[in-house]
Subunit: 208 residues, 3 copies
């Protein structure tokens, strides 16, 4: 069996799924939800963005209902995260790396789904960003807080920048090369943003 690029990127995407789950569970525990609530927030954080993407373009039943790999990955990582929640802190750096890779791959694969049905590249970039970010937005809505993505983090912005680059590169390079470059850029922006505490300016006004 030859391991192809697609296999690798699918595997990395599942690592992302797993980290998204853990980030959801992490937030839910801080709000003192019960076991069902915690696992549910894990699922919604991991699958929410992709589900909205599927609904917007009409993939129904939505992807995770027909290919259940993501569901198993979430179930297992959710259980592990709940059981070993005391140790989550000590794996913060690998978790951050997987989360960043997941962010990039969700974006790229969301864009590809849009391009495949012939949508305008700008719309596809929006779809990729929705796929990568709306899980976390739903998580925060369910936990009763204003989405952190709207307030403090260069997160969606990394997806948008990488997505634009990806669409610009596609006509000139092979699929995998464009994917790899876009992915690296998304990860680089995200890592730099966290390391140097980059933030978008808040839009304020004294006059409102």
């Amino acid at each position: 069996m030859k391991i192809t690029n697609t296999d690798v990127s699918h595997l990395v995407e599942l690592l992302g799924t797993s980290t998204f789950t853990i980030s959801g569970i992490f937030s839910a525990i801080q709000k003192k939800l019960d076991l069902f609530g915690v696992l549910m927030i894990g699922f919604i954080t991991a699958l929410g963005g992709g589900t909205i993407l599927d609904l917007l373009i009409g993939i129904q039943p939505v992807s995770w209902m027909t290919d259940m790999t993501a569901v198993y990955v979430i179930g297992i990582s959710g259980t592990v995260a709940v059981l070993f929640r005391g140790l989550l802190k000590s794996v913060r750096i690998p978790l951050f790396i997987f989360d960043t890779l997941g962010l990039g791959l969700y974006t790229v694969s969301g864009i590809q789904k849009g391009l495949r049905i012939g949508l305008n590249p700008m719309i596809c970039i929006a779809l990729g960003t929705i796929s990568a970010c709306f899980g976390a937005i739903l998580r925060d809505m369910l936990l009763g807080t204003i989405p952190v993505l709207f307030k403090k983090e260069i997160y969606a912005t990394a997806c948008i920048a990488g997505g634009i680059l990806y669409c610009l590169l596609l006509p000139f390079f092979e699929l995998q090369i464009s994917e790899l470059i876009a992915l690296s850029v998304i990860c680089a922006i995200r890592i730099a943003a966290v390391k140097y505490k980059w933030q978008l300016p808040a839009v304020r006004s004294n006059d409102l």
Copy 2:
């Protein structure tokens, strides 16, 4: 005209719809919404779960748009609940019974919708639970509180347990018998949970 089992379960499901509406209206009144807001929360509590189920599997226009019975039931029970809101307290026990029956029947009919299009039983159980529970989750999101189902109640857990049982029984028993057993189990768990104040453990951690 012969009254069939399907008629009976459809009727009981509508009793559930009616109670879901009333529970929505009840919560909305406590938040001092206006008349439109109160009725809207009633509708969303009763139809929200089924609507999400329909969207996830691609039943469009969604069910309540083509079979309007549920809409009439909600309209009537909503109006009655608003007019006689002072008396709601004195019918708490019948309301609880209908709500529990509705919970069970929404679950079972959600599962059936999924099985009919050939989805994996685990996915179908998730669909049944979504159908039964997401109305209440949307209600709480709209009212600005963390969904009570995520915090304090054995509610979704009863659906999941009954749903698993239902799928295990189906190969061995007739449809109606499996349905009846699953329904009884869901109701029994729910009633016991309320009576004995069962709760799922909150997932806490001092280390986060």
Copy 3:
């Protein structure tokens, strides 16, 4: 090139889209979101209602993905609103007028989408109201407050009243005439409600 009625109503609808965007941005600035958050709330306020409408009846990919005019209008008005946010106060009255016209036209065009696929007029009125109002409801959910439409404003009520009238007139008058009358009624109710501070009664109860 002859300018038709359809062109005019499409143009006015886009003015509405633009004002919905600005109202979203306005609310987001008050919550101190960052630039991405502010623009995102602008988009969701303007497109949210129409998106839910499309999903409920199965128009996928949703409209703004295939006809991108609305996306451009939102992008431009969003940018202008952020840049000149200090001046927003001084254009309050034109903004209110466009918002009201947008409300009316979203309602009417939502109803038409429903009638075109043969849904019951009551359902169509609900669809028109959803299309006009759910953007603002999503906006408030994302900003962590109970939707203002549920608490204090005659807003959805104007859509419902105008929608009922529209469906009653359709069998007797030409399309454009019915549309014009319904639109005028929606605007008149909305303007009167703001001018005379009409509100629906809150549904209260001492007994709950």
